[in-house]
Amino acid sequence: MARILVIAEHDGSSINPSTAKTLGCARDLDGAEIDVAVFAADASALAPEAAALEGVAKVLCVTDAVHAQPLAATVAPQVVELAEAYDYVFGPSTTFGKDLMPRVAALLGVNQVSDIMSVDGPRSFKRPIYAGNAIVSVSVPEGSKVVATVRTASYRAVGTGGTAAIEDVTPAAELPTHTRFVGIKTGASDRPDLQTAATVVSGGRALASAENFELIFKLADTIGAGVGASRAAVDAGYVPNEMQVGQTGKIIAPDLYIAIGISGAIQHLTGIKDAGTIVAINKDEEAPIFEVADIGLVGDLFAVVPELTQALS
């Protein structure tokens, strides 16, 4: 039976939903036994959360103070040691997984399958290239481990209710000290997380200022949505980088995506094409966003958005 190890992503207090989506992909490999590895300084809350994810056979806990902020350089050698017992090692295609997994793959002497969007067979996968303008079917040669990242927007999170065993493990790999965590700056907010929100409202360059972006926040808060932005809005400094939606930002798949004052550059569209319904509000009727929008409204956002917020409150 094929054995899969999924590397859990977390922030120290809870498991990131990207983990449940990675499991959604792992489950598509028929008859596989799936274990999850948690690297943390304190896994007392994290391990039970991982153990409750559907389809998980066992949770491996690697507890070490050095993993308070899991860094690729320190986690990778330990993953490599655990990987010995597995045929597949999967991580989410988030900045965490993108940083870590190629380091793991190189140490294991294999290439990585980046951004799996579908599983076609035990060693066959589909993945996007050229910013999603082409889809390539790839096949991993027999006899080598499959190391991969999973495009989380392509998968639904597995449910909870599982009762996996939790096992403490202590890899012997020597940990380097050449890489040190200094700090993280996050725009902490009470809004739903951009990557998991059922509804997302995004603003673009047409907002014209950080102050005007308040219009987007107001609409989002009225309908309980997460908030995103185009690259242009981030580059212009209206909002911080973690709000960027698109090829080089976050790739998301909400049920409803409302794009406001976003023209629809190809790299932005790449980030939203798995959304259920796309709504576009833009004053330029020629804007490419209307080519992919399910519902389009040509109009001045400074009039339309307050009116829409009013109508929905």
């Binding site: 690729a72 990585q112 991993v140 890489t179 993280i184 976050k250 929008a293 519902i295």
Partner: protein, 249 residues
């Protein structure tokens, strides 16, 4: 710092609308404009700024691929790199073989820093930098949006999903550039002329004596599923109505 090594990949220009060949054998590249991978261009710009601040002595650009990549290396030299190395390798060589070959050049050149783009915009693999750091046994700082140096280490701000993370890494190290690290300079005509006189060495990949990695086979290509154009509404009432019809409100 003595040397900075910068990787430049030759890719289809980012303005080209890429199309899959009708027989599904690949992506149309005949007669298509080729350029330096934009993230690599940002990496090179950063290296040049570091040198211009007096924090590094030499910037070397390296590319792996066919002789065509000399074009991108010449552009890199015109931007201001001091010399160039072409590792003559098959088109589309896999990331791990690339990283292994890169390591051999690193061992020859002993750079203090290797700067790469965070990913190439053709295969979107996002692997080579991390793989090189792993094989080299050195730190990696991916998705960099700011870099500062102090006493043999670098403090790097990284664009991560949660926000901006800062890490400190000992040199030598690999740093991969994200979009907002800088805005690359434009190349001026006199610099293009000057670049022709700068050294460009070619090394055959076989000379480097690397073990070939098990490549992942690309068995077929297809265009992505297209989204259909939807309906247009006239006003907010129409929009609210359409959302209600879809059960989204």
């Amino acid at each position: 710092m003595n040397k900075i090594l910068v990787g430049l990949k030759r890719v289809v220009d980012y303005n080209v609308r890429v199309r899959v060949r009708s027989d599904g054998s690949g992506v149309e590249t005949d007669g298509v404009k080729m350029s330096i991978n934009p993230f690599d261009e940002i990496a090179l710009e950063e290296a040049l700024r570091i040198r211009e601040r007096g924090e590094a002595a030499e910037v070397i650009v390296i590319s792996m691929g066919t002789a065509d990549a000399q074009q991108q290396l010449r552009t890199g030299l015109a931007m201001g790199a001091d010399r160039a190395i072409l590792v003559d390798a098959p088109q589309g060589i896999d990331p791990l073989s690339r990283a292994r070959a890169f390591l051999k050049v690193v061992e020859r050149e002993s750079p203090d820093l290797v700067l790469l783009g965070k990913q190439a915009i053709d295969d979107d693999n996002n692997q080579t930098g991390q793989m090189l750091a792993a094989l080299w046994g050195r730190p990696q700082a991916t998705f960099a949006s700011a870099i500062e140096f102090r006493d043999g280490s670098a403090t790097v701000t990284r664009e991560v999903d949660a926000g901006l993370e800062t890490i400190e890494i000992d040199l030598p190290a690999v740093i991969t550039a994200d979009l907002r690290l800088n805005e690359p300079r434009y190349v001026k005509l006199p610099d293009i002329m000057k670049a022709k006189k700068k050294p460009l060495d070619t090394i055959a990949i076989d000379e480097l004596g690397i073990e070939a990695a098990p490549a992942i086979d690309e068995v077929g290509f297809a265009p992505p599923a297209e989204r259909q154009k939807g309906i247009m509404v006239d006003d907010v009432a129409g929009l609210v109505g359409a959302l209600k019809d879809k059960g989204l409100l």
